[in-house]
Amino acid sequence: MSSAMQFYVSVILIYLGIDLIACWGLNLQYGVAGVVNLAFIAFQAVGAYTAAILSMGPAQPQGYQTYFIGASLPFPVPIICAVLVGGVLSGLVGLVALRRLRSDLQAIVLLVFSLVATDIATNQVGFLNGSAGLSQIPLPLESLLNLTPLDYQWFYVGFTAVACLLAFWVVRRLTGSPLGRAMRSVRDNEYAAAALGRNVFAMRMRALIVGGMIAAFSGALLVPIVGAWAPSSWLYGETLVLFAALLLGGRGNNLGVALGAVLVPGLFLEGTSFIHYTARPGFIDAVQWIVIGLLMLLVLWFRPQGLLPERPRRVDLAPSLLPPSRWPWLARNRLAERSELAGRPE
């Protein structure tokens, strides 16, 4: 493979890994807990900005970019701080967006939050350098490893892979746990879940915070490899790409979501970048966005459960809990019937 091709492949792999992490985070919120976080990309942006300003050092007084704080902390610290800031901000947003609201209004408040966050980051120049954004963000460990640019790319591929495994482990632990079950119960029927003693607000809040931390983590991984980060990198449409991946792959199913992350942002958006078309600038972009929107609508209509649907979870009742039967040989059927009821209707 030529080195240019290797470079390209490594970048695609890194992006894919980061998309996987982001999709798992969003799946925890939307697929598992039913929080339609239309501001997901804003939390990724928070992670990216935090990791950037904590690794770039203080802003130069005469420099071309201005931002607040500014420090050059050693390698894992900016990422850890990004994750923490993502969690705290998610909590703050959740306090407003998740309280006492119907679920669709919650989604709209989050969407508005995303739009306004873009607005503020664009207009407050001293805050994060306005619409020009941050650039020349250093690569973590670059000076320490002293690798050629290409070798560094492959190092980062490995690093992203490890991060992916970590994210998958966290998400898997959560969704497979009783907490994950409680989140799914809130998603499926919040009133029934509340009647059974589940705190609906707390469940959604946990999903929002953990998902927000994962979002920030993905942003912190993304920003050094892109090297620059501006409000135009995280317009709300990017959240819709992730939603499209979730819907196509199968919301609620971590593996389905991974499939969606490969198909939608990976193949679909990267693949079309090969099309050379000398139309008006922005035309190809517009067509891509139209197709993303149509894809979401078509999936929601024809296959709302996605390509790899969430597997219905059944809880077998202990036979002793069943009422005594006069026909013991029917008990098996009865048990099966109950299990069916315990499974999810969808």
């Binding site: 967006a97 609201l101 919650q106 449409g237 709302p304």
Partner: protein
């Protein structure tokens, strides 16, 4: 002080535009119990159609009915072709948000594919400047305010005085009960969507006339203020949307004049958050409406 007074004049114009748009939006929430997030984009599509007529040499005031028809037809088609089929399938409210966002996205980028990312401006005479007490307003701005007052009055009379309005309110309050009383709720809903779509189209042209330039994203960002105005007054209440429009419109223009015009949307967002924290049922909601976003009966 002069700046402050001027911003009040602007605020009233913005509030008028916002009231036209917000009332339509909130009635849709009332009728269908869903938030139609394509609304802002439909506004701008109507504005683009009006731009097409205007560029062909037709007066912008003549283009207004064209925009109203565009908005009405497009909204009715969206309801018939997209929203209603999904609703009939029992799509959950939060999945409906995704449906409307995705639809709006498709529409918005279709606009970009056709018109590009350029800014457009209407050709019309803004008229002379009038001193109304301390306020300074151009003739065109006065006409926008008059249009808003006329439309809102007509909407109020329609909802409160006519049989159609009564049927719309009944459909919003309880569709099953309304159907049991012999109201053809499907037809009433179709009429309501068309009418609100017309309001949406008119709001789009009024918006562009008041802000001077627009591109394909103008509508999507205007949704922030529309949602803020609707929630502020109590979702599903036309009178609430009017009050919300006045507060958001004045508030954002005053801040724009005093601080910076970049913070208009931030003010709307701030008002939205304060409302959700302090009085999530909206300013005008009655005592019974304890839960946030509980849709009220139209016009009550």
């Amino acid at each position: 002080m002069q700046l402050f007074l001027e911003s009040i004049g602007f605020g009233i114009v913005t509030a008028s535009v916002l009231a036209i748009a917000g009332v339509g939006f909130t009635i849709q929430v009332g009728i269908a119990n869903m938030f139609n997030l394509t609304y802002g984009t439909v506004m701008i599509i109507a504005a683009f159609v009006a731009y097409g007529c205007n560029a062909a040499g037709v007066s912008i005031w003549v283009c207004l009915p064209v925009a109203a028809v565009t908005g009405g037809v497009l909204t009715a088609l969206l309801h018939r072709g997209v929203f209603r089929p999904f609703l009939r399938r029992g799509t959950s409210p939060f999945a409906m948000v995704i449906v409307t966002v995705a639809t709006g996205f498709v529409l918005q980028y279709t606009l970009q594919a056709i018109w590009g990312s350029n800014y457009y401006t209407y050709r019309f005479s803004r008229g002379t400047t009038h001193h109304l007490g301390p306020l300074l307003l151009t003739t065109a701005q006065l006409w926008i305010i008059a249009l808003a007052v006329l439309l809102l009055l007509a909407m109020h009379l329609l909802l409160s005085q006519t049989k159609l309005g009564k049927a719309m309110r009944a459909t919003a309050a309880d569709p099953d009960l309304a159907r049991a009383c012999g109201i053809q709720t499907d037809r009433i809903a179709a009429v309501a969507w068309t009418l609100t779509g017309a309001l949406c189209g008119l709001g789009g042209v009024a918006l562009v006339m008041s802000t001077a330039t627009f591109d394909f994203t103008t509508g999507a960002s205007f949704m922030i203020v529309v949602v803020a105005a609707a929630v502020l007054g109590g979702v599903g209440r036309p009178s609430g949307a009017m009050v919300g429009a006045l507060i958001v419109g004045l508030g954002s223009e005053i801040v724009a004049a005093v601080l910076s015009p970049d913070y208009k949307d931030v003010v709307a967002f701030g008002l939205l958050i304060v409302t959700l924290l302090v009085r999530p049922q909206g300013l005008l909601a009655g005592r019974g409406a304890a839960t946030a976003g509980q849709v009220e009966v139209l016009g009550s």
